[in-house]
């Protein structure tokens, strides 16, 4: 007369058993196929065909691929990888599906172009990607900025960088720095201040936490390079004057050459190494620095400080 208690009990037990089983198997499957969704991009020989097949839902599909790209990079980054093979295809598919997804071009400029472990070392592909972005979004000044960025930072082609900044400066509502950088780049390629201005603009023009962290890290490195250069110059002058190396920075202070103890951008004092060299105490904290590292130092895999990723 009532629903059978026996059936209810058996079904519930089986249901719970199946639930637990499916959970475990899924966990296992995810390990088996950790790269599966990503490696599939290698089979998509024609992003344009994919766009047609998505039956008008290309925006959503673009978002899926974009999220996969970010996840891919973040996972690899976390593991300290030195190769990012799938980043280019992922970004190319994303932008083919949605050419107006400007964050993708920005991401490409920042992380496709640089050499490992900072990026995928595909500067040429990064340029093609951003040029494609510019063709589809000619009024977005940031894309010209991204292009110039790649030429400046990775390819050291200051002429082309100046061109890119110049094109961008003509766009209505462009950031005023663009014309400045175009001019200065043409004149004074490679200067420290130029680089600082570039990275500051990069930081200000984006909301992407990875790009921001990258910019701050570079700025710190530039600061360190600048500090070390100046300090080593002061030490050389001291040596010239007194005929010996200073034993510590207090000597320089006593000689009136320094007002206060020099601190690195993270607040630690610099080390004065015998022989007139200056080093940072913790080189690992300063990716990208070209001065102030001990001899034979090998930079570890790139890691961003969480606080640098900025308020989200």
């Amino acid at each position: 007369m009532r629903p059978s208690a026996r059936i209810t009990l058996i079904s519930t037990v089986i249901l719970l058993g199946c639930l637990v089983t499916s959970g475990f198997v899924l966990h296992h499957l995810d390990k088996l196929r950790s790269q599966a969704t990503l490696e599939e991009v290698l089979y998509i020989s024609s992003p344009k065909l994919l766009k047609r097949l998505s039956l008008g839902y290309d925006g959503l599909l673009a978002d899926v691929y974009w999220t996969r790209a970010v996840q891919y990079f973040g996972t690899k980054h976390h593991l300290g990888s030195r190769e990012y093979n799938l980043l280019a295809p992922l970004l190319e598919i994303t932008t083919a599906l949605d050419p107006h997804l400007t964050v993708a071009y920005e991401f490409g400029a920042n992380f496709l172009a640089p050499p490992p472990p900072y990026g995928a070392a595909m500067a040429q592909r990064a340029i093609e990607l951003v040029e494609y972005g510019i063709r589809n979004n000619p009024d977005d000044w940031k894309l010209y900025y991204n292009l110039g960025f790649i030429y400046y930072t990775e390819l050291k082609d200051y002429g082309k960088a100046a061109q890119a900044f110049g094109r961008g400066s003509k766009v209505p509502n462009a950031h005023p720095f663009l014309s400045v950088m175009a001019a200065q780049m043409a004149q004074h390629a490679g200067e420290l201040q130029m680089a600082q201005m570039m990275w500051t603009t990069a930081y200000q023009s984006t909301q992407d936490p990875d790009v921001r962290a990258n910019a701050i890290t570079h700025l710190r490195a530039l600061q360190v390079d600048q500090d070390v250069t100046i300090l080593e110059q002061l030490i050389a002058i001291y040596r010239q004057k007194t005929g010996r190396w200073p034993s510590s920075f207090s000597d320089l202070q006593a000689a009136g050459m320094l007002r206060a103890l020099p601190l690195d951008p993270l607040g630690q004092t610099y080390k004065l190494v015998p022989g007139g060299r200056v080093e940072v105490r913790e080189p690992d904290e300063f990716p990208f620095i070209t001065k102030g590292t001990p001899p034979g130092y090998v930079a570890p895999p790139l890691k961003f400080r969480p606080s640098d990723r900025g308020p989200s």
Binding site: M1, R2, P3, S4
Partner: protein, 313 residues
Amino acid sequence: MAAIEILGLEKTYTVGFWRKRSQRALRPLHLSVEEGEIFGFLGPNGAGKTTTLKLLMGLVFPTGGSARILGKEINDPWVKAQIGFLPEQPYFYDYLTANELLEYYAQLSGVDATERRQKVRDVLQRVGLRDTGSTQLRKFSKGMLQRVGIAQAIVHDPKVLFFDEPMSGLDPMGRREVRDLMEELKQRGKTVFFSTHILSDAESLCDRVAIIHQGQLQGVGAVADLTSSVEGQVEIIWHGGAIPASVKLLTAECHVVGDTVRGVVREANQDAAIDTLRREGLRIISVTPVRMSLEDYFVRKLKVSETAAGVSS
């Protein structure tokens, strides 16, 4: 052993999505049906007849009470093999032929594979659908579907049969055939429990009836008892055109049509009236007990229950 025992079976539905109202479809019902009976379950539409049948078939779960068929609980699979059910206005898989449908049902009822084909043939013959075995059910008329319905209810030779409005939608020929079938089933010793709101069918067929109204049982008993328990009256018809004075006193009513007089007297005064008429030399044509028709009993019972309930459901 009673074929069907209903012990306080009741059903209350909760209706409504946001504010739940309760709707009492069936108040606690106590009823028992003996083996070999044809039992009529009467009531107007919405009285609770179909609800009762669904409860007995295990299609709906009761809010209270229980029932037994052939001495066992309803959901016992053994019981289910011994009963046959014809729902109201049945509909069957229209993509099957009659043969296929009955074979399928026979399979589900556990009829042995060796006997199936024969039983299907037999039962189609019995309901008068002998040559339609290979016709698809979508081509069947309403009457034919009703007969297929009866066929599927009896194909596995059950002991107890439950029919919900078996005569509905049938023409007089069809109704006659169904009545004959039910009589035949009784001859074979089956118990038949059927619901209907057509009283004349019940009157002629049933051994006993129950009347249900607004979910509540109003009366149970043999038709004869129910209809004759109220007034014991006798109708006397005589020729002669005259009404003797003493007879006039005894009659409740008198009709004169030409030479024939029809008078109704109380059963107790029957002999006195006949003697008087004889003495007067009037020729008595017939003396018949007057029964209230089942319909009168029915309507009267319904009125009583309605006034009792304040004429609201």
